[in-house]
């Protein structure tokens, strides 16, 4: 399990989630994103192309981060969901809450 953060030349923060996003590590992701938000970043992509599974706590932290980023005038986009993760977002109807693209590159182009 690992989170990676990199900033695109246009200032978009791309967060990679390797392994899983679950109750045991969600706070680490949340803090990393909130730190970047505090430092002035406003556009975020979370890339799940290397993610195996996400539990409801992981989903919850995405909802929370999305709200906090929007409150600061920013936007959070999600990318790289595999078929199972896409289904998870659809059945929880969270696909209606987030802008989801197939790849991080597509998310980047859409900003």
């Amino acid at each position: 399990m690992r989170f990676t953060l990199k900033k695109d030349k246009s200032g978009v923060v791309i967060v990679g989630v390797e392994g899983q996003l679950i109750v045991g590590n969600r706070q680490e992701l949340k803090q990393k994103v909130l730190d970047a938000l505090e430092e002035g970043s406003r556009k975020f992509i979370i890339d799940f192309s290397k993610t195996g599974y996400i539990d409801s706590s992981g989903l919850g932290v995405l909802v929370s981060l999305s709200k906090k980023i929007r409150e600061q005038g920013g936007e959070l986009r999600l990318a790289g969901l595999n078929a199972d993760l896409q289904t998870l977002f659809e059945l929880t109807k969270l696909d209606t809450l987030f802008a989801i693209t197939r790849t991080a590159e597509e998310a980047l182009a859409a900003f």
């Binding site: 399990m1 392994g19 899983q20 679950i22 109750v23 045991g24 590590n25 195996g52 599974y53 996400i54 539990d55 409801s56 706590s57 989903l59 919850g60 932290v61 909802v63 929370s64 709200k67 199972d84 998870l88 059945l91 929880t92 109807k93 969270l94 209606t96 809450l97």
Partner: protein, 142 residues
């Protein structure tokens, strides 16, 4: 803290300390010791892992209050055409019938309240013991 999994041909037993940081390792330990053939690799890698992480997370947060002195018990029954996972804590239990629908528009932006909903969609059967402090997840072959 380390985890010790006891494995027999038809069962597994694991006691998980009440520490949310142990959930990922516990899930991996159980998932990686399932005998091949009963469940597809995809159902193990997604459905089982997600549902078990949910059940353990709930038991640790709400059942044992993240008290490191307490443990959550995981018992796995390995049938010819099913895997049944029991996750039991020593807490007071809860009433699963009183949980709101997390997909209703006014609940969508809530951070919590999706765990049981997710589990019910990922496994074939979810059952609770009478006290509400034990959950049984059944995944059938096929």
């Amino acid at each position: 803290m380390s985890l010790r999994l006891d494995v027999t041909p038809d069962s597994m037993r694991l006691d998980v300390p009440s520490d949310l940081g142990m959930v990922g390792d516990a899930v991996e330990l159980v998932a990686s010791h399932l005998p091949p053939g009963t469940l597809s690799p995809r159902r193990i890698s997604f459905n089982l892992r997600t549902a078990l992480a949910e059940a353990l997370g709930n038991a640790i947060r709400y059942g044992t209050g993240e008290d490191p002195a307490r443990v959550v018990r995981v018992r796995v029954e390995l049938g010819r055409d099913y895997v049944r996972i029991y996750v039991i804590d020593d807490g007071r239990g809860f009433d699963a019938s009183r949980l709101p629908d997390p997909t209703l528009p006014h609940n969508l932006e809530h951070e919590q309240g999706r765990g049981l909903f997710v589990m019910r969609h990922l496994v074939d059967d979810v059952a609770f013991n009478e006290k509400g402090n034990g959950i049984c997840l059944t995944l059938r072959a096929g």
